[in-house]
Amino acid sequence: MLKNYIKIAWRNILRHKAYSLINISGLTVGIAACLLIFVILQFETSYNKFNANYKNIYHIISEQKRDGNIDYNPGVSVPALEGFRLDMPQVKFAAVNSSYGSQFTILNNGESVSASDKKFIEPLGVMFTEPQFFDIFTTKWLSGDKNVLAQPNMVVLSKATADKYFGDWKQANGKSIKIDNAITLRVAGVIEDMPSNTDIPLKVLVSYITWKNAGELYGYTNEWGSLSSNHQIFALLPANMSKDAFQKQIDIFTKKATENKTNSTRIHIVQPLGELHFDTRIGNTLGDHLTSKATLKTLGFIAILIILMASINFINLSTAQSVGRSKEVGIRKVLGSTRSQLIAQVLGETMLVILFSILLALALAKIALPHLKNIASVPDDIALLSVGTVLFLVTTFVVVVLLSGIYPALVVSGFKPVLALKNKITAASIGGIPLRRALVVAQFAIAQLLIIGTIVAVNQMNFVNEADLGFNKEAVMILPGYTDSISLSKMESFKANLLQNPNIKSVSFASDAPSSDNNSGSNFYFNNSMKDPDFNTFLKFGDNDYFKTFGLKLVAGKGFAKSDTVNQFVVNETFIHKLGIKRAEDAIGKTMKLGSAKTFSPIVGVVKDFKTNSLRDEVKPIAISSRKALLSQTAVKIETKGLSNTAKAVQSLWEKTYPEYAYNGYFLDETIAQFYKQENQLALVYKLFAFIAVFISCLGLYGLVSYMAVQRTKEVGVRKVLGASVLNIVLLFSKEFMILIGISFLLAIPIAWYMMNQWLQNFVYRIPLTAGVFILAMATSIIIAWLTVGYKATKAALVNPVKSLRSE
């Protein structure tokens, strides 16, 4: 019997090629899209789970309250570590201090660095850590063991890093490398590479004691007042200890230890390792990204919508097609088929089509997989097939079969044989026209939702990318450098040499660009007062050419004079407004000093507000001053003409000046674009899935209209005989769809408005959600619907009425 069903199913697929093509392509695209989203979700939710102690590992984060402002920081102050250990001996603690962008030089001749030594810059994964770290996290040691990290100036490399540095990790042991050309380290161990789904990437591990010994070089201060996001603490609880009990002990300790030691209220929050990857409060992890649960939910939601749309197509087309099969059903019933046998047959056909679609979807997903990294932060080599995806496909198969197969099967098997044989089964008699209309409305509502999402997201991202930041980000190169005494001594000659190039307009040394993810700040005292105002100022340092190089506009006063130490300030408008000063001129000549500074210095200028971070954040109060020891970056403003040649010239000059360092320059606008990586990805996701949704709903619409054309052949014939023109007929067909689209639009508006309004709340600077967006979405779907319906309707209208009426 099964063979018979499959045979019939196959012949049916071939006989109704157009329907089958619509069905299969809609499902294939839908399933492939869902599969890829599933791969992303699976990857994102698998973070850190490979650790054997996953469920009992906690990350400790700091919450600071000051004057009603709450700040979260993934780091913990240094003194906490020993304190935790003393107070809670049953819990295992370990600290890491990460270093971003450190350079490693492979030493060939003794201690000194030569230009020919290989140099590597590690943006991520450099950690100063203790042996205890490996009591908490799962790592496989290929050589050496955790205890080597108890000694100073020891380094452990991951296998891939060791391969990169020494050609083969087996050669690494005992070799010397220098970190940031400052400390010589001996390779004492190699560990297996971390999987990519970790928030704690381990590439180069330097012993924690090395960090302590290095003092200020890597910001080590054993004080509660200092809190850096680089210094993070993890804990492994014994199996019998609950999260709440742990939090309680931490609270008791924190209260005792921090009272009167900081100028804010400090709390430590224990965060299960499973939440680390999704906690947007802390801004970032030690890894390359964290993901908001909201984004994952949006993706999942889109996947469900897409699969629903594809199933709706299936239902629509199968029930429509079933009219044409009424005769076969009638005959089978007369020949003795029971209803359940017919249901089995129709379901069997559905299964065959869906199975076929799933196989095609797998192939399609395989082709699309390498592009997945453009819409999500997944590794290049992410796998398509896993136990999870196979389970997903099986579930999808069952769900889609049930969603799209049951209803048509019930309709078809319910045909009365006498009516079926007399060809008296029509669209009206099987009913379900309201149902099919409702389904089309649902499809179009989904498509419009995604179209609106796309328009809003794309507009907002255009707005963000083209927003006036208050400074000029175009054609500015940033060259990260170092602040050791040798590097600092070369600064002036380097600048002079750069300016020799006629295509270089201006050069400035700075701590960071006007817009950056740097958040260094300090309390301060204003106008000789001994009491600090109730807000912290954020800080940037630059030389006297900072304003010129970045095109910052001064609204009062002037830039500070050339100086190696802090002796003049320029502040921004937000800064003076927060102090209650209305006119910028009034601020000139007032004095201020930063937290621990000894003397007050005058404010010489007020700079027009510029965007200090991404457009997600408010402009912060900023004080800019000059302090040579902090100017690690060189900013180079160049002519846009011959950009790449000038960039090459800058690089070769840098390499000549600083042979002991690896070049790491980039253009400022690229890093500013990096601020919005996740948002840009989401905008792309919307674009992509709106396209898929529109494609699928067009298939559905096309199916429905071709079905209607068949059903209304006689009506069209009669109307034509009575004198209707082709245009009249086309309008007749279109009218119904316009109404359906109108209804779906009314459904889509509130949902879309709510969703996109939520999303826009992420940005302090955002586009308004105007009626124009919605009208554009409606117009788009109407045009698309017209194009879809038009062809079939015209074809139906062109049929000679003699032909269509003859059969009656």
Binding site: N12, I331, V334, T338
Partner: protein, 225 residues
């Protein structure tokens, strides 16, 4: 073999009952060959469908091989006619997607006959109707007479006791029609299959042993030959 007692079927149209079958009583014995005649709209096909359990009367009693059909559930009815009745239609009603052999085989599938046995039975049937050479053709590739031959072969494959034929020759030319009627006569005489046919043709009706004339849903006359 079957007995209809006071069978009526009507449709409610407005306040009026529109009778298709109006109080018909009829007995058919095993081995009979009955022809039902009458003008269009006299209720012939409806009567045949009621006998074949494809349609239900509004009221009346219907017994088939001593079972009260009017009391049976759909499943039991379907089991009953699956076992005893074969249908032949004016429009042949072959499944377009299936070949000749597959069409003939289909009723056996629904009676859970094993695959090897089905093959043998189909081969027998193809042989008997001399259509072995056509077994892999699809219905659209056959002439009307050949299609009806396949239709009859399909009706006979499950060895029914009763054949219901609704104008079996209506779409055929006279020569083809004659062949089909000869076949029916042979089946009735040699194999003892009971046959009830609906026909417009006086000549074809006379192949039967009894002619029932219907008019406006009632039996107008019965003629025994």
């Amino acid at each position: 073999m079957l007995s209809l007692q006071h069978i009526s079927k009507y449709y409610q149209v407005g306040g009026n009952k529109n009778y298709v079958i109006n109080d018909i009583s009829l007995n058919v014995d095993e081995g009979e060959f009955v022809s039902i005649m009458g003008p269009s709209g006299s209720g012939k096909s409806t009567l045949l469908n009621i006998i074949g359990m494809l349609d239900e009367p509004t009221n009346g009693y219907h017994y088939f091989v001593d079972q009260p059909v009017h009391q049976l559930k759909e499943k039991q009815r379907s089991a009953l006619y699956k076992q005893y009745i074969g249908f032949v239609f004016q429009a042949y009603h072959l499944i377009d997607e299936l070949t000749v052999a597959e069409n003939i085989e289909t009723p056996l599938i629904y009676q859970d006959v094993k695959g090897s046995e089905r093959k043998a039975m189909v081969a027998d049937m193809l042989d008997r109707f001399q259509i072995v050479g056509k077994k892999d053709l699809f219905p659209a590739q056959l002439s009307g007479g050949q299609q009806q031959l396949v239709g009859i072969a399909r009706a006979l494959i499950a060895k029914p006791k009763l054949i219901l034929a609704d104008e079996p020759t209506g779409n055929l030319n006279s020569k083809q029609g004659e062949e089909i009627m000869e076949l029916f006569r042979k089946l009735n005489k040699e194999d003892g299959v009971t046959i009830i046919q609906v026909t417009h043709s006086e000549k074809n009706a006379e192949y039967g042993s009894r002619i029932i004339n219907l008019l406006d849903g009632k039996i107008e006359s019965i003629k025994n030959l």
